[in-house]
Symmetry: C2
Subunit: 319 residues, 2 copies
DNA sequence: ACTTTTTATGTACACGCGTACATTATGGCA
DNA sequence: TGCCATAATGTACGCGTGTACATAAAAAGT
């Protein structure tokens, strides 16, 4: 029985047929629990998500896309998805998931460079457990990672603004515990450097990727726009751009008119807002899909540790 | 060992301590696979999602919220979340998930009234497997369900429009295979009836809950607005409202000025768009949480089969 | 002190599959 | 026909828990 289903060892076609037919008649389905136990593999791939009850700290768009990508590949490889919400109180015993054999591999979303997280990941690596980070790098540790080229994306966005004659480009970045924040800052600086413009630190603002944090920066930025110190803003994600746009609008400043604006993520909102937001498209679906493939797909596993997928600037109406 | 951890049977405190300490020293962690096998329970609750690769047929907001709600309650009850993407080719053998013991209970999201789905759910019920629908009712079958009061929500939205003096209210509904579409249509009709206005069938349009479908209705609706046949539109979700708003804007018609507009879902977008969209807030998080509680929580299980949660109209700038 | 009840611990087996190994059929070849 | 190699099938055991039952220790009652 086990042999026919798993096609192990030689056997007569006729025997296989007979067994299969008998199984069908009896309505036999293998007990996944027993299989997992006997194989000592759960067949589950864990996806670790930030715990955000009723609060959209991260773009839901972001996670839906990545999850879909992971799900598609996992299904193709015969794995199921086990969703794991990170504990709110900072307990991040990812390794325990492996020690209890709940998962065979895991993908960490929304990883951030803080001590608890670093030690949790180090423990995974030390245990030899297969895992993959998405959209976060730790430069001092070589973890399996799928990232996007946020340096190039930011550089392209800022270069575009400069090409529009906007030479006073402000930058609203996200928190530094995310490597992609640092990447974007570098991209911003590189674009300025290429244009022979010195990067002024007072033009770099920091939010927390939430809409609210963008809105809260409207006051100081509005002042600078009016004073001629800023003629364009590049936001590290769309949500902050939305908040900023709203805050500036309340102060009588319109994007595309009084200032140029570029966001990041190509989220749903960037298309429905008006004027439509220029932004940078990130292949979240593909990133999720690749992360899963790296863990599950034998062919992919030989690839380089850190995959960096290309992004693309999308010009719309705010720039 | 098993007894101390599961606290079964009487035992001396000192013995418990000794065992626990020994376990700690040896770094023992129970093998979840063996536990599941021995208990013949997976400890997983399945969440069935529509398969939407790279296409946002449903609002991602909707699913993120529900998932978070389910996750919170599942964790509280000691269950894990197994994500199951519905097969694209119409194969919906939900019962197999139970027969293989992959899941102990399941929550069906995005269920739709089509034959394959009906038979899949009937099989679940026949097998006595615990499951819960969210946001979809089948009136001829009494399935465990968590729904929202879309009748009341729609009625409130339309009544609001009527109170604004908008007496020619068009309705852009979703596909009829969703019970909440029917609910909203009834709410729309009831509001009109209460105001003594007859419901004209040509004012009822049908989209598919996508932004595109809303946009595609802009042409006929624009004509009627110009002709005075429509002075307000109620859309069955925000996404269609966004599309419609965009389509009408391209035709020179502004919400809040040439026509009033109300959406549904209170999605993120409704707050970032301008003018900000009047809409109906649905407690998605609570719905997910309740659905999980109904399946997992012993106390909740005695509740009525169909829970209907309240919604609330939110007036913003488009009405 | 002895029995009876209660409490605590020891022990063995079942759960349902995968798989290594033993056994038996089959076919090729001299 | 006999012999060996190979293909096919039969068989038994292990995986690591939970748990029913047996046994031993402690407590309570006479």
């Amino acid at each position: 029985m086990s042999r026919v289903l798993n096609n192990v060892g030689p056997m007569k076609d006729e025997t296989r047929e007979r067994v299969l037919q008998a199984a069908a008649e009896l309505g036999y389905v293998p007990n996944a629990l027993a299989q997992q136990f006997a194989r000592r593999r759960s067949g589950n791939i864990g996806v670790i998500l930030p715990f955000v009850p009723k609060v959209h700290l991260f773009s839901t768009y972001y996670f839906s896309e990545i999850l879909s990508g992971i799900g598609e590949t996992a299904k193709r490889c015969g794995y199921d998805l086990l969703l794991i919400f990170r504990e709110p109180d900072g307990a991040r015993d990812y390794a325990k998931l492996f020690r209890t054999h709940k998962i065979d591999a895991c993908i960490v979303l929304g990883s951030e460079n803080v001590p608890e997280e670093r030690s949790a990941l180090a423990e995974l690596k030390a245990g030899g457990y297969p895992f993959c980070l998405v959209n976060q790098r730790y430069d001092d540790e070589r973890y399996e990672t799928v990232d996007a080229d946020h340096f190039a994306g930011s550089k392209a966005a800022v270069r575009h603004l400069l090409e529009q004659g906007k030479l006073r480009v402000a930058f609203v970045n996200g928190p530094e515990q995310y490597s992609n924040s640092a990447d974007r800052l570098e991209g911003y600086r590189a674009a300025l450097a290429d244009a022979g413009i010195s990067c002024e630190e007072e033009l770099v603002y920091v939010g927390n990727y939430s809409r609210k944090s963008g809105q809260e920066l409207a006051e100081p930025i509005a002042r600078r726009i009016r004073g001629g110190g800023i003629d364009a803003v590049f936001c590290a994600n769309d949500r902050m751009a939305f908040g900023l746009m709203q805050g500036l609008r309340e102060r009588g400043l319109e994007p595309g008119e009084h200032y140029a604006l570029v966001g990041y993520d190509d989220s749903d909102g960037s298309r429905i807002i008006s004027p439509r937001l220029s932004t940078v498209a990130v292949p979240f679906y593909e990133m999720g899909s690749l992360a899963a493939a790296k863990l599950l797909d034998a062919e992919q596993r030989a690839q380089a540790e850190i995959a960096v997928l290309p992004v693309s600037f999308i010009r719309r109406e705010t720039s």
